[in-house]
């Protein structure tokens, strides 16, 4: 176990990230809605740079509650995705899981904040 220094918390805007590397291990550290999350920068699909794509809210379909009719698409107000830029695999930034298959998941790392500094535990 080792703590990798990522940077100071103040260096992160909201919906910001850093991509850090130690040897061949590359980790994306995200700052979304005041929380930090870290995942290996390695897409489950083909090993693409999953942490270097768009940060975008999950798309939802608007369905009438009783009539079940469809009324277009909207962006989720809560779920934020990170998107692998190679092929578009999307992962929830809070748990690293694909919305359609919970077993498709980016490798997560614990993030620790100490004295205003961000560390990833590997």
């Amino acid at each position: 176990m080792a703590d990798l220094y990522v940077g100071k918390t103040e260096e992160f805007e909201d919906r910001d990230r850093k991509i850090i590397a130690q040897g061949s291990l590359e980790i994306g550290v995200f700052h979304v809605d005041g929380e930090f999350y870290a995942y290996e920068n390695n897409c489950v699909h083909q090993g693409g740079p999953a942490c270097q794509g768009k940060i975008i809210n999950r798309v939802e379909e608007v369905i009438h509650e009783t009539e079940k009719t469809a009324h277009g698409l909207k962006f989720s107000e809560t779920d934020v995705h990170i998107v692998c830029p190679w092929h578009g695999y999307e992962y929830n930034v809070r748990d690293g899981r694909h919305p359609g298959n919970k077993n498709i998941r980016l490798r997560p790392f614990k993030v620790e904040i100490k004295d205003g500094e961000v560390y990833v535990v590997v």
């Binding site: 080792a2 990798l4 220094y5 990522v6 940077g7 910001d16 990230r17 850093k18 991509i19 850090i20 590397a21 130690q22 040897g23 061949s24 590359e26 390695n42 083909q46 090993g47 693409g48 740079p49 270097q52 794509g53 768009k54 975008i56 998107v83 830029p85 190679w86 092929h87 578009g88 999307e90």
Partner: protein, 406 residues
């Protein structure tokens, strides 16, 4: 003091965009290639693309017809707000990058120094080299992109006019300048006479390793008009490729509301129809020396169609009297490019490889830079393949099929 602990470094590229260098986009493909020693094996990519519209001003200069050429030049120089002259690109082209989520599909606006262009001979060549070197590819067969829709052009003669201009441009600006790049020449299939002329004009061109029909069209491949085309290819020993595409305006596809749904079906359906006609009309018996390659439909459709056609043929052999064996046996002798390889049901993939005799018939293809591209690792990492099969699929099968020395 050396602590033995590697320093943490920060990757300056937080987000990959349309302006990111191809080598940075594909940095992990390069890493995969290094880990698997791809530089020590021969890898042939039988389907990659450039965006010919970026060179459209150059291409239209090769149009023979002086009136069409003048119209094209006038439009390119002075008119905005419309697609490049002569092209009939499908509306679905606007959706391919999933709303900007897959930037390399949208555009490659990366910086290329003038000195690099001068050295390579063309911006396309710089971009191609950055990508094929990143993936460890030794030879790459390149196709156009929006021109894949020309088979549906309402002006009958436009496919041949633009096809010839594009082929000439490609020979002079791409194929003569980078021996690693090859093509199966664009065949204007709606006009059999023009197709025959195309084979005669370009059959011996440098880098021409075969000819390609864009599969999106309503033309029956067994029509008698085409027999002379197939004969000409067979005599020259040049493979014929059917490059799939989609067509959202197809009456059946018009029921579909989402790009992905339409793409999943339409990119296969065109080749399903052509393959069915090819087999049931006995074209493998009429042209036994003509290799046929099915490009960019993935592979999962092949076992399905084998089963459908075998089942039908055995009940109705009088409708396919030229056949001397089952449709699936003919299909097993044809060639297929692997991309996009549907790898989410591994047992089915393994059975598919067995049914198509992948060890000798399957050809690796990247389809770079499109949204569903496959790196060579997709083949290399399949758990059921032996090393000889991997080497065959990644390059040796293609080496046997195509004359890459041209």
């Amino acid at each position: 003091m050396d602590t033995g602990i590697e320093q943490v470094k920060e990757n300056p590229i937080k987000e990959i965009t349309t302006y990111t260098d191809s080598r940075d986009i594909l940095a992990k493909a390069r890493q995969q290639a290094d880990e698997r020693n791809f530089d020590d094996i021969f890898i042939a990519d039988i389907d990659a693309h450039h965006t010919e519209t970026e060179s459209w001003r150059e291409i239209i200069a090769y149009i023979d017809d002086p009136v069409v050429r003048a119209q094209a030049e006038e439009m390119v120089l002075h008119r905005s707000g419309t697609p490049p002259y002569g092209l009939n690109g499908d509306l679905a082209l606007r959706y391919q990058d999933v709303g900007g989520r897959i930037p390399h599909q949208a555009a490659r606006s990366e910086k290329v120094d003038e000195s690099e262009i001068q050295e390579a001979g063309h911006r396309d060549l710089v971009l191609a080299k950055r990508a094929y070197e990143a993936m460890g590819i030794d030879v790459q067969v390149v196709f156009p992109t929006p021109m894949l829709f020309l088979g549906m052009h309402p002006q009958f003669d436009m496919e041949a006019i633009l096809g010839k201009a594009y082929n000439r441009w490609q020979v002079e600006n791409i194929l003569k300048k980078d021996p690693k790049l090859k093509t199966m020449m664009f065949l204007p299939f709606n006009d059999p006479e023009a197709a025959l002329e195309t084979i005669e004009e370009f059959g011996d061109s440098p880098g021409c390793v075969g000819f390609m029909v864009t599969s999106v069209r309503y033309k029956a491949v067994h029509h008698n008009h085409y027999m002379k085309v197939y004969r000409a290819l067979e005599e020259r020993g040049l493979p014929l490729g059917f490059h799939a595409g989609y067509y959202w305006q197809d009456p059946f596809m018009m029921q579909i509301n989402r790009f992905g749904s339409m793409h999943a079906l339409s990119f296969v359906w065109c080749n399903v129809v052509h393959m069915t006609n090819w087999i049931m009309n006995g074209l493998p018996e009429r042209f036994p020396g003509l290799p046929v390659v099915w490009i960019e439909s993935g592979l999962s459709w092949v076992p399905w169609l084998m089963q459908r056609l075998d089942h039908t043929y055995l009940m109705r052999s009088s409708e396919a009297p030229l056949l001397k064996k089952l449709p699936s046996e003919y299909m097993k002798e044809m060639f297929y490019t692997c991309q996009p390889l549907e790898t989410d049901h591994m047992k089915a993939v393994e059975l598919t490889f067995e049914m198509i005799n992948a060890k000798t018939q399957l050809l690796y293809a990247s389809d770079w830079p499109h949204f569903d591209f496959d790196t060579p690792s997709v083949i290399w990492d399949l758990p059921f393949l032996d090393e000889e099969s991997k080497l065959n699929i990644l390059g040796r099968n293609a080496q046997r099929l195509f004359d890459f020395s041209k």
